[in-house]
């Protein structure tokens, strides 16, 4: 880790100004990912702009009846918030499924969306990695990729996005707000992450120097009956090998509205729109749930050692949707 300048920002414009156009400067939130990456040498910033003290730590009702979540709200506060738990239970569950109590107390909503992949090749600076060192190659394709992507990946990178929170936010059509020197902007989470293609090092559509200021959840009545399920290689404190955020509105045995997003299968939280299309208007039965999963997973391109994820996701979709349908029938 090289030496670096440290500045604490008091307000949003001040933070943006402190970062300026310096490509070697980084915003510091909870630090749970950035400080780790600095220790491993993946990140070598010359300046940190500490944004933890910014007045972005509130969860408030939005004008349209949704929720506005500040970027520096900690994961813990998000998961503990009564409105989140009541109206978007899968979001609370997703947050609680991530990391550990300690890390959730530190990590922020903004940082969660911007966290980097936990691919072992990305984290090891002695290895090639197109995401870390563009053009150096992707050893995962021919190497260890048991927990790598089956959807939306390319030969250049098969890493997965590690967020749990982001999966639920994606299912609920969250919109990211940011600030730049040229003013504020908004990006729907579904378009926030860039396709992998041959530029896996370009991860988000944020303009250079932009500071994420918050996330807005539009009102989503279907989200009140929602669930997040995560499968991992141990019972806790591990990244997902597959996860599902789902919401289901069922009336008279027919799906009125379905929200479905997958985690740990792609370079970003994966909104399963093909599945949603199959579900909408379909009978709420395991058969249709499986057909919906198959519709989404038809695009899967598994590698030799991660094909199990296709089976896993199919089974998870059926299990989670069946559980929600049962609840609805009660």
């Amino acid at each position: 880790m090289r030496e670096f300048d440290y500045r604490r920002a008091d307000d949003v414009p001040g933070a943006v100004a402190l970062l300026g156009a310096d490509p070697d400067a980084r915003y510091l939130g909870g630090g749970t990912n950035l400080v780790d990456l600095m220790k491993t040498g993946v990140e070598r910033p010359a300046r940190l702009v500490d944004v933890r003290g910014l007045p972005l730590d509130r969860i408030e009702p939005a004008d349209d009846g949704g929720l506005r979540i500040g970027a520096t709200v900690t994961n813990s506060d998000l998961a503990a918030h009564p409105e989140v738990r009541r109206r978007y239970p899968a979001l609370a569950q997703a947050v609680l499924a991530g990391a550990s109590g300690q890390l959730r107390n530190m990590a922020t909503v903004g940082g969660n969306l911007l966290q980097r992949t936990r691919c072992g090749y990305f984290a090891d600076v002695t290895q090639p990695c197109n995401k870390r060192a563009p053009g150096s190659g992707c050893p995962a394709v021919a190497g260890e990729h048991r927990n790598h992507a089956v959807l939306g990946a390319s030969d250049h990178c098969v890493a997965v996005h590690p967020s749990d929170m982001g999966v639920a936010l994606t299912a609920f059509d969250a919109v990211v707000s940011y600030e730049t020197a040229d003013g504020p902007g908004r990006l729907p989470l579904d378009g926030f992450y860039l396709p992998v293609g041959d530029t896996p090092h370009l991860e988000t559509a944020l303009p250079p120097g932009a500071l994420v200021t918050g996330v807005t959840l539009p009102p989503a009545p279907a989200a009140a009956r929602s669930r997040y399920r995560k499968v991992r290689e141990r019972a806790s404190y591990a990244f997902a090998i597959g996860s599902v955020a789902a919401a289901l509105d069922v009336r008279d045995g027919v799906v009125r509205e379905a929200r479905l997003a997958f985690g740990a299968v792609a370079s970003r939280p994966w909104r399963a729109r093909a599945a949603e299309r199959v579900l909408t208007g379909a009978p709420a039965t395991a058969e249709y749930f499986a057909a919906a999963a198959d519709a989404e997973l038809a695009a899967a391109r598994p590698l030799p050692d991660n094909g199990y994820k296709v089976t896993l996701m199919r089974n998870l979709v059926v299990a989670v949707l069946s559980g929600l349908a049962e609840e609805a029938a009660r």
């Binding site: 880790m1 030496e3 670096f4 300048d5 440290y6 500045r7 604490r8 510091l28 909870g30 630090g31 749970t32 400080v35 780790d36 600095m38 220790k39 491993t40 010359a46 300046r47 940190l48 500490d50 933890r52 813990s76 998961a79 503990a80 009564p82 738990r85 009541r86 239970p89 609370a92 569950q93 609680l96 499924a97 990391a99 550990s100 109590g101 300690q102 890390l103 107390n105 530190m106 995560k230 019972a235 806790s236 404190y237």
Partner: protein
């Protein structure tokens, strides 16, 4: 302002203020251990992957290895050395001792700081990943062994003392509830 790579900070640790100059790269963990001789907080992985370095920052459990010391200014820090009240062990410490909730003892300070916070988080009504119904209407989940284990999972123990640790947390939590009940009565 010209860039600088170190700062003078005042850290509030266990109720005492310490003013020191820190390299910005110095984590709170290293400041505690290398600069302030508060070595009760342990370095197990230095990457937020084991929980041995857990301390309380503004009352909330935090891994001090990922907390830069310079960014900890102005926050109230409690380490394992500050958990006991005077010579009297905290109920969590006493339960760990009595139930043998440790073997080598290296993860123990982190486990204890974490357990103190787990009991408070649960008392505040926070759900966990094993709470079946997280909606506030469902009420706070009972602190079952399963809830304790999930909430303590950010603290690895390689000796395999998980079983007695979970018992110790349950015992201390029951004492805290009994104490709170008495206070109310």
């Amino acid at each position: 302002m010209a860039p600088s790579t170190s700062s003078t900070v005042t850290l509030d640790i266990n109720g005492e203020k310490h003013t020191l100059s820190v390299d910005h790269r110095t984590t709170l963990l290293d400041a505690l251990r290398e600069r302030l001789d508060l070595t009760g907080t342990k370095k197990g992985c230095d990457q937020g992957q084991c929980g041995a370095c857990t301390v309380l920052v503004d009352g909330r459990r935090t891994v001090s290895c990922l907390q830069l010391a310079v960014a900890a200014e102005g926050r109230e820090i409690t380490t394992v050395e500050g958990v006991a009240e005077g010579g009297r062990l905290h109920p969590v410490q006493q339960a760990f001792l009595d139930l043998d909730g440790f073997q080598c003892g290296y993860c123990t300070p982190g486990q204890i700081c974490s357990a103190v916070a787990v009991i408070e988080e649960h008392a505040a009504g926070w759900p966990s990943a094993v709470t079946d119904d997280v909606r506030p209407e469902a009420g706070p989940p009972p602190l079952t062994p399963e809830e304790i284990r999930e909430r303590m999972s950010g603290n690895l123990c390689r000796c395999g003392a998980y079983a007695p640790i979970a018992e110790a947390v349950a015992r201390a939590a029951a004492q805290a509830r009994a104490g709170a009940g008495e206070a109310v009565a």
